[in-house]
Symmetry: none
Amino acid sequence: MFAEERKAEILQLMESGKPVKVGDLSQRFEVSESTIRRDLQELENARLIQRTHGGAISVQSSFELSYQEKEIRFYDEKQKIAKAAVDMVKDGETVFLDTGTTTLQIAFALRGKSITVATNSMDIAQVFAEDPQVEVIVLGGSLRKSIRSLVGFLTNEMLAKLHFDKVFLAANAVDSDLGVTTPNLIEAETKRHMVKAGKEVILVVDHSKLWEKAMCQICSLSEINLLLTDDGLDEANVKRLSQYVQVRIAE
Amino acid sequence: MFAEERKAEILQLMESGKPVKVGDLSQRFEVSESTIRRDLQELENARLIQRTHGGAISVQSSFELSYQEKEIRFYDEKQKIAKAAVDMVKDGETVFLDTGTTTLQIAFALRGKSITVATNSMDIAQVFAEDPQVEVIVLGGSLRKSIRSLVGFLTNEMLAKLHFDKVFLAANAVDSDLGVTTPNLIEAETKRHMVKAGKEVILVVDHSKLWEKAMCQICSLSEINLLLTDDGLDEANVKRLSQYVQVRIAE
DNA sequence: TTAATAATGAGCAAAAACAATCAAAGAAAA
DNA sequence: TTTTCTTTGATTGTTTTTGCTCATTATTAA
């Protein structure tokens, strides 16, 4: 029996959500426990199972997954951006935070300030749920479950009635040609309303999203007051971007 | 049984907001109380549950409760009411769920139905966050942090634009004299809008709130289509109430 | 309030499971 | 064939899990 066969069979055994033990598998396949552990490790690396002490369980029945501590990509970069963003916010201001992982970091950094925060992100609202300083306004709308964001007609209507000192906008891609873009049509429409609702619109994106394109245009770069990003972009590209929009690098 | 399995199962047990006790879990899983405590600690660190003295409660429910009070009062009664409420909801309907511990139980019980749920409770929205069947609409507004409810002008405006097949209303006190009451002025105004937005308005309160009064009137009993409560009230009082509003007892 | 009772957290020790390492066996490539 | 690479099993020291005790803390009753 080859190693691949063995792994395939282990997966089959676990298909119905049954937990398996290292000792049992070792006996069943007549190999050492070391070998089984190596197999399980590989399967876990492939995110096919969840290892436990003594064996493994299927990913679904693992509680780790229900906790959405999914690793944030470019965490350090976003942290830098958040720090720079917070420095721009003064006490007493009204700030809008768009849904996104970067804006979520900004939310954490904003805690304790005497400000009013409006958002369409359930997660960001939660961040302030135990902060007595911050007044929170949540926009209504249809719940986009994957990112726990509120979007759609109702959200747009509410945005049309509000105005903020600063809007921190998130996006999936930024380009001099198409401007600011995102893959979702409905979201794009809602973000367009955010841009309109801000006295000052600050686009916060890590460097991996610069010079990229997504399907739906939100707005052109000229409508953005400031692009706040991290120091992961080379100087030539920063200069190129600066022709279209004011750029600030967070270090 | 692996530790991971145990933790996953504990979570499942608590899924519907049911509180658990250390002693019970210890017996059920045949491990020491120390082990259970360690499990609960981990789950708490992962923000999946909220520990209490002697046990734990799911985070969603715990946020509904005041800082001191960590257990749902009249949990069984609310469970009964929830069951009866769900029987009244048909597929395809649009349902509004007010903020409250009873309505939260209704939310848990409604999962999996093909319906549209609107709510002003962040916690209720969360309940459906991983349910692909249920379409969720969250009302916007100011966040009342203690109960994570959205209230105020913006909420009222949104409610004025919407209409629901069924509105499940929560309240703090019900009385034939003052009708339905609640201690918070702004909340009362928002609840008044809920009453207006429903084709059928169903007041869900456990028996401890009957024949009580709170400061602000929401509406008179005649504006309520049905009062749904548990079987904890004596027959004489049920009859008295029935003079003012249709009463249904959940058993 | 104070006393009593219950639950908790920290520390410890034993058992089980683990990762890391290395050498042997087998397969693949030169 | 010899050499190289992969897979495997055994060994060893480390980590994890668990149950127990005991001092501390929280809750309840008086």
